[in-house]
């Protein structure tokens, strides 16, 4: 490590070498690795969070529960596990815009959103969101109206935050399944709104 960039080995080669060293000593099982990878490629992702949001939009009691005890209400949908030990849900309103960041690492609510996207892990986001959130959101394509109250949440403990976006107008006839299809990862972090269909 710490070699000058010109002498550096690629992470492809170094990952392969590390895996070999651990497999040869029977410290790691490639099949277990494959299971981990497949879980986060196929099973755990923002569709989970979208189902939570759609249920909250269509079931006022669930919405109240979700805002009061996010961990329990999310577990009721079958979602839990690493990086979701204590969940807090932040509700977007006409007056308040919430957005979530992790300045110290890239902590992210895996059970409901999967692994973090590249923009969330990017130093520009981690550094800027706690200093000039309106500017950063604009760079990402979201103009927050002047006068709207911005609340930024830096996930510096094991609390994980999920944003409950505003339900778009014109979706009164949609059921929870159709609504879930509208909800995006970006809206559940607070860097986008959910667009009407």
């Amino acid at each position: 490590m710490s070699a000058a960039p010109a002498d550096r080995l690629s992470p492809v080669l170094r990952t392969e070498a590390l895996e070999q060293l651990l497999v040869e000593r029977e410290l790691i099982d490639p099949a277990v690795m494959d299971t981990f990878i497949k879980t986060y490629e196929q099973d755990v992702g923002p569709l989970n969070g979208a189902k939570v949001v759609a249920r909250a939009w269509t079931d006022p009691e669930y919405r109240a529960w979700l805002l009061r005890d996010g961990t329990a209400a999310i577990r009721d949908m079958g979602f839990g596990g690493p990086q979701g030990e204590h969940m807090v849900v932040l509700e977007q309103t006409d007056e308040v815009h919430h957005v979530v960041v992790c300045t110290l690492c890239s902590c992210y609510p895996w059970p409901v959103l999967g692994l973090p996207p590249s923009w969330y892990k990017d130093p520009a986001y981690r550094a800027g969101m706690v200093r000039t959130p309106r500017r950063v959101l604009r760079e990402m394509g979201l103009d927050v109206p002047e006068g709207k109250n911005i609340q930024v949440w830096d996930s510096s403990s094991e609390v994980r935050y999920l944003v409950l976006p505003r339900r778009p107008a014109g979706t009164e006839d949609l059921d929870a399944e159709a609504l879930a299809a509208l909800v995006t990862r970006d809206a559940m972090v607070g860097v986008a709104e959910v667009a009407a269909p």
Binding site: M1, L21, E85, R131, R134
Partner: protein, 221 residues
């Protein structure tokens, strides 16, 4: 410690990325790095999640940044494995160079030296007997703390005044847990800071909430 990982408010990173659709792992090695690191954290190195974050914070800034997120995971996994005596320093690069056909001698495996550590329960949340020192609405100030070791007090909120906005479940204290000096569970508070308290009178108007351990805080006078 004031590490490369403590990025809040720092300058020079350019504009934020416009979100696009992307798979969880852009390339296969990222998935392998992810899985190796998750398995290394506890099972292989005998360490823990906080020790992993502390390993990230101890990386040389080049190693932290140059190969992105899963590159830093890979480097932190290697650091945890050398810390625990599972691999010798330089073992990974030596093997990679041998795989390229270079005539390199691989260092012998060291004596394992896993930490004397066993969690009292799963996860990071614990019970504590004492009552929280602060209540929602209390004015608090972050202490002037500059530890050499790990901390979860971001530098940009050090010596700043804010208001408790929520009390969260008690957590193990990463400052000691990361270095196997005990779980020391503490109350955790979400503290709200006015942007002007952090970034001066010309700051964009907003409120910054950050989760802080009780020992980082004192009552604001």
């Amino acid at each position: 410690m004031d590490s490369i990982a403590d990025m809040g408010g720092t300058h020079g990173w350019g504009p934020a990325q416009v979100p696009t659709d992307e798979p969880p792992f852009a390339e296969p090695w990222e998935g392998r790095s992810f899985a190796i690191t998750v398995l290394t954290m506890g099972r292989i190195s005998g360490r823990n999640l906080d020790a992993f974050r502390h390993a990230l914070g101890r990386l040389h800034p080049v190693d932290y940044l140059v190969d992105g997120y899963y590159g830093r995971w890979l480097n932190a996994a290697e650091l945890m494995l050398t810390d625990s005596g599972i691999l010798a320093p330089g073992a990974v690069d030596a093997r990679a160079r041998r795989n390229l056909g270079e005539d390199v001698t691989e260092p012998p495996f060291p004596e394992p030296d896993r930490p004397d550590y066993k969690p009292t329960a799963g996860g990071s949340l614990r019970e504590v007997d004492r009552d929280p020192a602060f209540a929602v609405g209390d004015g608090v100030r972050t202490k002037d703390l500059h530890p050499e070791g790990p901390t979860k007090l971001p530098g940009y909120v050090r010596r700043r005044s804010g208001t408790v906005t929520a009390i969260r479940p008690p957590h193990v204290l990463p400052d000691t847990h990361a270095v196997f000096e005990g779980e020391n569970p503490q109350h955790v508070y979400t503290v709200g800071f006015a942007s002007t308290e952090l970034w001066g009178p010309d700051a964009e108007p907003f409120t910054l909430h950050v989760d802080l351990f009780e020992s980082y805080l004192e009552a604001d006078q």
